[in-house]
């Protein structure tokens, strides 16, 4: 049960963050250039992403021995999670700017500007590219987290990812503007810690380690990463108080 909640939660949160970013791009294109082309682009991107999930999901679940899978995917999840955590620490400390959906929206509008003659093609391509590239991270999270959490893990991760996408899409349709109020940076911080913790747990299991209390150890690992991230933020702020 604990493993399933962890799998669902990681897939849901990771997918929610990326869906907000993809939604901003689609909204920017749709609200300024009409909905048909960006919606086609979005659908094509989602189909491509679904194919990737099915392809890699099946390949991983059916072909790779469990320990090898945990070692390789665990290592990749560690790298992925640490990368998100790294950015989150720098954002929390004020070293780099917080991700701003309103700014992303304006950037997409600028990209659209001056291409009126090729309106449909440009709108289609920007939506396709935006959704596909943002969705790649979701595909990785879903396949990695779902594939390594034993039998039945993949459908749970897919459900988490899909539910997040639906929630964000419905919210986007209702409010019809970028979801700048979603605490995206905090979510990325949390997902970074969760993924780095799960990845460390699985990578070590793949190396043959046994964890005290099994999956509950993930909480201990998460506490280590969270503590380290706060120390990093504190050190950076102390050295450069202007940034804070």
């Amino acid at each position: 049960m604990y493993a399933q909640v962890l799998t669902f939660g990681a897939a849901f949160l990771g997918s929610a963050v990326e869906s907000v970013e993809a939604l901003t791009i689609v909204l920017a294109v749709g609200l300024t250039r009409g909905w048909r082309s960006p919606l086609y682009g979005t659908v094509v991107a989602l189909v491509l992403l679904a194919v990737l999930v099915v392809l890699f999901g099946q390949l991983i679940v059916t072909r790779v021995p469990e320990l090898t899978l945990k070692l390789i995917i665990g290592t990749l999840i560690v790298l992925f999670g640490l990368r998100w955590l790294h950015k989150a620490i720098l954002r929390s400390a004020g070293v780099i700017a917080m991700h701003d959906e309103n700014k992303s929206y304006e950037d997409t509008l600028k990209e659209l500007h001056g291409s009126l003659l090729r309106q449909d093609w440009v709108a289609f391509t920007i939506a396709l590219k935006g959704v596909f590239l943002e969705g790649m991270e979701v595909v990785f999270i879903v396949v990695a987290v779902g594939g390594t959490s034993g039998s039945g893990g993949l459908p749970i991760a897919v459900a988490g990812g899909l539910l997040a996408m639906i929630v964000i899409a419905v919210t986007g349709v209702i409010v019809r503007k970028p979801l700048a109020q979603v605490p995206e940076n905090t979510l990325k911080y949390a997902v970074g810690i969760i993924l780095a913790s799960i990845g460390t747990f699985w990578a070590a299991e793949g190396m043959g380690a046994t964890w005290p209390l099994d999956l509950v150890s993930v909480l201990g690992i998460a506490a280590i990463y969270f503590g380290a991230s706060r120390v990093a933020v504190m050190l950076i702020r102390r050295r450069s108080p202007v940034m804070a």
């Binding site: 990368r83 070293v95 913790s197 190396m207 120390v231 050295r239």
Partner: protein, 71 residues
Amino acid sequence: MRFLRAAVSEVVGLFVGDWAQTAVSVGILGIGWFVLSHVHVAGIAFLIAIALAAQIVYATTLEARQRARHS
């Protein structure tokens, strides 16, 4: 072609921000694997998490210092 290049760099970018930092992380995992195969003590794997956590503290503070110096 540009789309493909963007997709490839996106995939690599999922795992690698800074190559040196990635190499250090992989190195820590490699050393952890070596230690785990020789020392069979429950909970010793927590050392891997501690080493990775220390690595991220070092990498982020270093990057912050470098950015402060260049700005």
